[in-house]
Amino acid sequence: MSHEVMHHPGINLGPAHGEANEIAKTMLFGFWAFLMSDAILFGMVFASYVTSVHATAGGPGPKDLYNIRSAFIETLLLLASSFTFGMASLALKYKHSKTRLVQWLLVTLLLGMAFLGFEVHDFLTMIAKGGTPERSGFISAFFDLVPLHGLHVTGGCIWLICLIGQMARYGIDTQVKLGVLRLALFWHFLDIVWIAIFTIVYLGGLA
């Protein structure tokens, strides 16, 4: 790694991939610019959550609504999915079989969907405890921030399904390679946003 020059964030395919490697230099930089603007959006939503965390209006607060065990399981699922996506990226870069690449992507998809399942269960539990978005500014801010991340993960899962479909239809061509590279950045980026969520929202709320 020390003598390899990185041309863009994430896995660099290297000259063995020809065209895809050439296009990736500019395309991934552009995608990275999008991710940074998305980070600004998340940052502002975090700011609005932090400023309204005490605005419970006499309703249920963080300690009444959050469940540390569930947040912990979600964290582990997302971290594991980041690792399996890394394995998929490596399978692509080192030209392992298509089956191996698709297997890693499917494991990632399953972990992502398990994460979403736990998250939806959390939201429903909160609502059952009277934590509906209209109850207080705090709960509105919560349902602005955490489901926004969940929506991104949902988008990532749909994208992943589309990529697997493209692989089945067209094989692993340049477009599919560039898609995997971009989705990898997106997926790892969402895991970084989740670090901020479990720290500020869940651990900060339960501390």
Binding site: G86, L185, A207
Partner: protein, 123 residues
């Protein structure tokens, strides 16, 4: 495509490359796991004073973000210049906007005499 004459040589090199990058991901996930487990354990068993706890879990989160950037997104100093500049500039913007918002809103809450820790009980 791969040059036929270098095929066997490059196969061994590729295998070495794969192993090196696999180790990098394994390190990343191992470090991230430790950096996740400690703050969860600290909060779950409540072994620290509140203020020290906030500072500690915040520090763990920052380090874990750097670990993710380094091992999963492969951001480092051997990067093309403009990538790192884009990240650092975005971080600066993020810091200004988030810290500014929290500062202004907290100050406003103070001046409006709404205690941040004890919101008025609305009917």
């Amino acid at each position: 495509m791969i040059d036929q004459t270098h095929d066997t040589e490059s196969a061994a090199a590729r295998q070495r490359g794969w192993r090196r990058e696999f180790r990098s991901y394994a390190w990343g996930v191992g470090l991230a796991l430790v950096l996740t487990l400690v703050p969860f354990a600290l909060v779950n068993w409540g072994v620290m004073a509140r203020k020290a706890l906030f500072i500690t879990i915040g520090a763990f989160a920052l380090v874990q973000m750097i670990v993710h950037f380094r091992f999963f997104l492969h951001i480092g100093f051997h990067q093309k210049r403009e990538d790192l500049q884009l990240i650092l500039f975005s971080t600066l913007l993020l810091f200004l906007m988030v810290a500014g918002t929290i500062w202004i809103m907290a100050s406003l809450a103070g001046r409006m005499a709404v205690p941040m820790h004890m919101p008025p009980a609305y009917p």
